[in-house]
């Protein structure tokens, strides 16, 4: 049994919220650079140049990459031999979010009730997904999510007979409906299988997989590649102003499902696809 004081979690969460909003991960930066060289539209190329400049200014002048610094989403993979001490883990996470968003000059974009809609003024509460895994480590991924792209995400409860083609159509439908609203070039996270909520969670987690990595299942990998190719033929382009590079990646996670169903979730993310992972 390993003991971890929850104050360590607060510190880590605070730092991750800040880091994620001021710099993209290396895989995202590389993907943007190579997309710039593949873009065919002149305006599109200019937009890529602006996005690169934007990242440089964010780092040098300490201005968040995007003003929508997101709702703070976390994936906690907790080793089953870990014992948290010193307080309530959920409170510790929210304390980290509060400190990170306040001290990091990040925007407070959360309302405490979806209908009464009063801003909580510290960007809490976070959305936290927990998973228990073997071992005595805790791996935390922080993925602040902007809502321009979140609002364009979809869940489709397809029928088994819809098959692979049905899944591809669903993903393409979601991407085309999103268009300029989702700040393309997008990263498209897809969850296939499981249940209604499981596929949505998989789609979200797929966004945190490095851009350029692929599913280790052969048929899923083929679908990732085909969908990226087809999305980049829609012509939506950077900022939705026409061009080739509509998406940087399609990341698909899949899971077992019921004999009667084929759930598919499409979680659209913009080019500000933020994720930071640390292990305690």
């Amino acid at each position: 049994m390993r003991e971890i004081n929850v104050s360590e979690v607060t510190e880590a969460v605070k730092k991750m919220c800040i880091d994620a909003n001021y710099a993209l991960s290396d895989d995202m930066k590389k993907a943007l650079e190579s997309a710039r060289s593949e873009e065919v539209s002149e305006l599109g190329k200019q937009i890529f140049a602006q996005l690169e400049e934007n990242l440089a200014i964010a780092a040098s002048d300490q201005i968040p990459i995007c003003q929508d610094t997101g709702m703070a989403v976390f994936f906690f993979k907790i080793g089953q031999d870990v014992h948290f001490t010193g307080g309530d883990l959920n409170q510790a996470i929210n304390e980290g979010v509060k400190q990170g968003y306040t001290e990091g000059y990040l925007r407070k974009s959360v309302v405490g009730d979806p209908l009464i809609r009063v801003n909580t003024k510290d960007n809490t509460p976070a959305v936290v997904h927990y998973e228990i895994v073997p071992g005595d480590k805790v791996t935390i991924t922080c993925a602040p999510k902007g809502f321009g792209s979140e609002n364009m995400s979809r869940v489709f409860m397809l029928k088994p007979a819809d098959g692979e083609e049905g899944v591809k159509e669903a993903v393409l439908r979601a991407v085309k409906d999103a268009g300029p609203n989702a700040c393309p070039p997008m990263v498209v996270g897809v969850g296939i299988g499981g249940t209604f909520e499981k596929c949505a969670e998989m789609a979200k987690e797929a966004l945190t997989r490095p851009v350029g990595s692929h599913s280790d299942k052969e048929h899923i990998r083929a679908m990732e590649e085909e969908l990226l190719d087809r999305i980049n033929k829609t012509g939506i382009g950077p900022a939705g102003l026409g061009g080739r590079m509509t998406a940087l990646a399609v990341n698909i996670n899949s899971y077992a499902t019921h004999i009667a169903g084929l759930p598919v979730a499409v979680n659209i993310c913009c080019h500000v696809n933020r994720h930071v992972t640390v292990t305690l």
Binding site: E53, I63, I65, Q67, N119, G148, G179, T234, G235, G242
Partner: protein, 185 residues
């Protein structure tokens, strides 16, 4: 075409703008997003005055991140415009000069733009750090309690934007993707 324009915007200048033009806006603009639009709409329904005179003015759909000491503003890129579609036609009919945001607009908004000789610009979504460099002054002038959603008066210098819907009703989002669409090949 690249053009430099002043804000507030005159009807003559708005008429000269065409979908696809790259513009650099200098002058005074106002921010308002979801919550501020809801309040302005309620004020109008109750017959009260708006906190800003919309005539000829540009509204930027934007809620910034907090400014660091000594800076006018934090990150300051556009938010999705369609959420303001419900409110925009009324403001356009009152003389609103134009809107800056990102993403598609409804037919009602497009019709109101044509009817009033107005314009819809897109700024590059997700380039909030870069766009903040074109904002030289910022002051909250109404609805302070809304935090990031308050109405701000901004002084901008060469703020970059692209004309998406012009006063003739041309819509860049509806034509640009077709030029590059290769799905049938």
């Amino acid at each position: 075409m690249n053009k430099e324009i002043q804000a507030p915007i005159s009807a003559e200048v708005a008429k000269e703008l065409n979908a696809g033009d790259m513009v650099y806006i200098s002058g005074t603009i106002y921010t308002a997003r979801d919550a501020a639009h809801k309040r302005m709409d309620e004020a109008l329904s109750e017959g009260k005055e708006l906190p800003i005179d919309v005539k000829g003015n540009l509204i930027y759909y934007m809620g910034p991140s907090p400014a660091r000491e000594g800076r006018p503003i934090g990150s300051a890129g556009p938010t999705t415009a369609s959420r303001m579609d419900k409110y925009a036609p009324k403001l356009l009919d009152l003389g609103l000069g134009g809107m800056i945001g990102k993403g598609k607009r409804s037919k009602e908004v497009s019709d109101a733009i044509v009817r009033n000789g107005s314009v819809y610009f897109a700024a590059i979504g997700g380039a909030g750090a870069l766009l903040s460099k074109a904002i030289v002054e910022s002051e909250v002038i109404a609805y302070d309690d809304l935090g990031t959603e308050a109405i701000r008066k901004l002084k901008v210098e060469k703020f970059p934007a692209i004309v998406v819907i012009d006063s003739k009703g041309n819509n860049l989002y509806e034509t640009a993707d077709k030029l590059y669409n290769k799905e049938k090949e």
